[in-house]
Amino acid sequence: MTRHMLRRSIGVALLIGALVANRFAGFFAQDLIAEAAILAIFALSLDLLATSGLVSFGHAGLLGVGGYIFGGLTVLLGLPPALGVLAAVAGGLAVAFVVGLFAVRTTGAFFIMVTLAVAEMFFAWAFRSRMFNGADGMGGVPRLDLTSIGVDLNDPAAFALGAVLLCAVIWALLELVVASPFGRTLDAIRQNAGRVSALGGRVFAYRLAAFTVSGGVAALAGALKVQHTNFLSPDLASWFASGDVLIAVVIGGIGTLVGGMLGAAALVLLKDVLSGMVGHWYLFLGAIFITVAIAMPQGLVGSLLNYWDARRARTAKGPEGEGA
């Protein structure tokens, strides 16, 4: 089995697991599954960006853009939710494109901080916005109306099912993107931007495109998140939310797509289980982060794949082998 087959099998297993669990789970578990699926979509968007070698610490800003566009159109203007979702994605693409025009000129820690800055500016606006009820947030955000095809998304099981299926679709699409010539170029840029540039590759344009697409997916996650909670709040765009999704991706394994989904599921589950079991649960969450960072610095999926490659290389060519 190749590295990519193993990676994709993990993703398929994860999604099937979520679907099966959703079928038999109770109300609270279905709520968690929906939350994990939405965080997984968000994590996928961040991981796509990471394919180009850029890590954002302000991705929640784009989540917020999606949420606020959806909330604004449906709650304030009374437009249909379907239109809200489309507008949210379009808005995410547009905002990411404009921000990216100057943000992707920086790299490394500087890119991390620029994205944080932009997200915090959005947070500051949302926090004060009278139109959106400022820090108190705004309730009554409707969910997508699918009654015409016989699905009531206000039913937790149906909503969780929808979120998992959408996550599967986004994942499949991003797998295609990553495997395409565009995705291969992004990976080359991640490995050595200078060399790609010397070969005539337009590093800036590719990174801008990756950031833009990533923004569209993040905004979609935002539009889903406000539907899930029925609530719009500036916390959507806070740096805690950016940190959460970053940690989900790092725990799972950055640059593996599947890792982001696994990390999201692990984080949502861990938080729920720990907070239900013990009082000072951040102590345990912190200990788990530290353990993962030290034992598996490439993340769960990343380390597993590396282990897999190393083992295959050994069995294929003996201990001296240099298998691909």
């Binding site: 500087f110 800055a117 500051a124 940690i247 790092v250 960072a293």
Partner: protein
Amino acid sequence: MDPNFLLEQVLNSLQFSMLLFLLAIGLSVVFGLMDYLNLAHGTVYMLAAYLAFSVTQAGGSFWMALLLAPIAASAIGLLLYYALLKRVEQQGHLAQVLLTVGVIYMGTDLLRIVYGDLPKGVSVPAFLEGATNVLGVAYPKYRLFIIALGLALMGVLYVLLERTRLGALVRAGVDDRDTAETLGIDIAKVFALVFAIGAYLAGLGGVVAAPVFGVYPGMDVSVIILVLIVVVVGGLGSLGGAILGSLLIGFADTFGKILLPQFAMMMIYLVMALALIFRPSGLLPARRFSQAG
């Protein structure tokens, strides 16, 4: 604007800048020297503030707290470095972020278990109580003390970095680590020393900040983002950058709250975004070109 009011705000900005500087310089040099993104730097600051509270609770004076707490916090910081942080030194920023966020979570909850959730206060020493007259403005003496301490430490650090052997080793390491090592400089040892000094200064910041802002769980997180911004705006690994960044952010924050209360939080981020658009490696980086690609 009323000149007295303006002067007061300038002093407020300076005072805040000095606190930012105490945290920023350690983070900046650690980042510049080892490319290590240590988000748990603020945890040392918080720990020192709590230790200062304990010292004053036990009957010690503020000065005793100012002497002991940063040293203890620095020692714990160094211990933490050898026990945990060092293990992901070669693993890139993301593993470092994950590990140090874990340290932040654990540190906050451990302090919560020991001290409880309620904010604690540390009182100002007697002779720094009350206000004094600065060019016709009554200004709290303690805040003037913070400004004086900050300026004095800038001077000490300037001498340390620019005029001593250790300073030369640090600058060589920041400039080109590999070459410095080839020349026989034990960068690991230099780094441990720099880490300890940085943690000491962060601890000092924690003790000094305690009477002004109070001591509470989460005080580390609220400050670390600002400090990261200072470091990025100023540029990595340089004293001048840390000073300039602290002043810019300190003033932007204070004056943002006065001039545009509606968008107070936006001000610092605006400054940072502008600084990075025109100077993507910060205003005064130790290295002129960024090595990231």
